[in-house]
Amino acid sequence: MSEYDNYIDITAAVCPITFVKVKVALERTDDGKILYIKLNDGEPIQNIPRSLKDEGHKVVKIENNGDGTYGLYVVKNGL
């Protein structure tokens, strides 16, 4: 699966702007649609999935890109 409806790259941002950018991207994504988030290893991959869950979004897949970045597939309001 590598299908998504919307895309955001937060690898250039630092906490907490990372999650702020994710929230803006989710605002532009319809309920039930998939947002792809490209994020860095370390603090972002540790915290962003948890924050998404707290706000009711479902992380359906995590891909390790092998270059220090990850890809998250998130269903908006999927929980």
């Binding site: 929230k23 803006v24 605002e27």
Partner: protein, 268 residues
């Protein structure tokens, strides 16, 4: 949807991160219009926090000029502002704090002839005045024109605040008539701890933001009373008064200018 620049995302990041605010809540704040009547002890901190929050349009109504004796508590004004119109001094501070905010300066005494027109352009009104005649007028006008507003008063080490929204008890359900002359000193006479405006005015700003966002519980039907000497906050339930001179059925309120109780200091 507002196109947030990276700079705006960073400025408002701590709001956007809140579940109760988020991107759409910050948009509501940026498009909100709040009027602050009185750029004094209460209005100064209220205006500053609302400006920092990004309230898109802040109206400030005050006819006075900055006096040296104001600076002990009216933190929107600086020593260099003494003699300057308070609305201009406040506008300069807000502009320096946040370029996203548009300030509308109403340099006038709010009275029964102009209040309806002034409040009509705003979503929420903050009563930051320090005298009873205008407080009663603000209550009457906001009830008559169905405008939510925050009442507050501070004196010595005490403060109180209540939020009115259409349908809720109004200020005059609790305090139907102006106190008789001499019964209550004004803060000009009695003195006030400078921070009281900061504490109570900031609560007023919080109420305005909650109203804009539609989150939480407002101080509607609740009178919050604070005593800084004992650090007691007390929330008193208040009810709509059947005999309220303003909001009861058939009260037929007309806006008038109430006579100010004569200041004892001036009399003697």
């Amino acid at each position: 949807m507002i196109d947030f620049s990276d700079e705006m995302l960073e400025r408002y990041s701590r709001h956007i991160l809140l579940k109760e605010v988020g991107v759409s809540g910050q948009e509501k704040i940026l498009s909100a219009r709040v009027l602050i009547i009185g750029a004094g002890g209460l209005g100064a901190p209220a205006a500053m926090y609302l400006a920092a929050a990004g309230v898109g349009t802040i109206g400030i109504a005050d006819a006075d000029v900055v006096d040296l004796s104001n600076l002990q508590r009216q933190i929107i004004h600086s020593t260099a502002d003494v003699g300057k119109a308070k609305v201009l001094s406040a506008q300069e501070t807000v502009n320096a704090m946040n370029p996203d905010v548009k300030v509308v300066a109403h340099r006038l005494f709010v009275d029964s002839s102009n209040i309806a027109e002034i409040i009509s352009g705003y979503d929420f009104i903050v009563d930051g005045t320090d005298n009873f005649p205008v407080k009663y007028l603000i209550n009457d006008a906001c009830v008559l024109h169905k405008k939510p507003f925050s009442h507050a008063g501070i004196i010595q080490f005490k403060g109180q605040t209540l939020t009115y929204v259409p349908g809720a008890p109004c200020f005059r359900c609790v305090f139907p008539n102006m106190p008789p002359e001499g019964a209550v000193p004004t803060c000009r006479q009695a003195g006030v701890l400078g921070v009281m405006g900061g504490i109570i005015g900031t609560i007023q700003a919080a109420e305005a933001l909650k109203y804009i966002l539609g989150v939480g519980e407002l101080l509607a039907g609740k009178l919050l009373v604070f005593d800084a000497l004992t650090m007691n906050f007390r929330k008193i339930n208040v009810n709509k008064a059947k005999t309220c001179p303003t909001c009861s059925e058939g009260a037929g309120i007309k806006l008038i200018d109430y006579a100010a109780p004569v200041c004892d200091l001036k009399k003697h």
